[in-house]
Amino acid sequence: MKIRAEQLDERMAVSHVAGELDAYTAPDLRDALEAHLQQGTAWIIADLTSLTYLDSTGLGILVGTAKKCRQAGGDLAVACNRKNLLRIFQISGTHEILNVVETVEAARERLEALRAQREERTDGEATS
């Protein structure tokens, strides 16, 4: 498995992940995602469009990271378009909570929209 980090703006970053994500390689992904959070980046895109294998260990890390992102005021989205991996998201019931979409572009749009919503709500609260 190979991971490349890309910072999109001050609060949003992508981890581009290629290869196979299992219990052997999972610690590397956990560290990479953790690094974003440590740097104050709470809006994270996991780009899995070049990932060929995923199982419950990888799902566990993605779900755990999504939670931490939300706790930090952000969120996580997954870009994935491979049939075999999408099946895993579907049958594990994680498709929605992980904001799984087909491309990094769509993932970014999803997070931007969530961020806008979040800010609106905060503004609303502040002015009410």
Partner: protein, 144 residues
Amino acid sequence: MSPKDASTVELVLPGKAEFLLVARLATSGVGLRAGLTVDDIDDLKVAVAEACTNVINHAFDDSIPESERRILLSLSIGKNEMTVEVEDEGVGFDPNALERSQRDGLDGQGGLGFGLMRELTDSLRVESAPGSGTRVIMVKRATR
């Protein structure tokens, strides 16, 4: 270890995550010869890895030295199907307690592994008891 018949491959793998890749590759190879489709094989690879990951994560306590932490994997070609057995000589558990833990789902501490195995195969059987090791038997039928 002696294969039951002339269409079974048996593997002994160290109980370490490093070797999950080998379990998946062997599953692919036997799956191809069993006539499974590429999609069938993708599913079965995950199911096999889930069972092996469970051995690595749950089967061994400190009393078992590293050299004895093994995964026994048996891959059999049947008529339009493939049978996989994942066995360990670890601590075992009560499979009846599984249903409870399933309810926790992903949010809790577990239960997702067996859920995936069940969804990704055509038949799943778990033989285990505290103190006597675990055997998971899965059958995947060839779609086509």
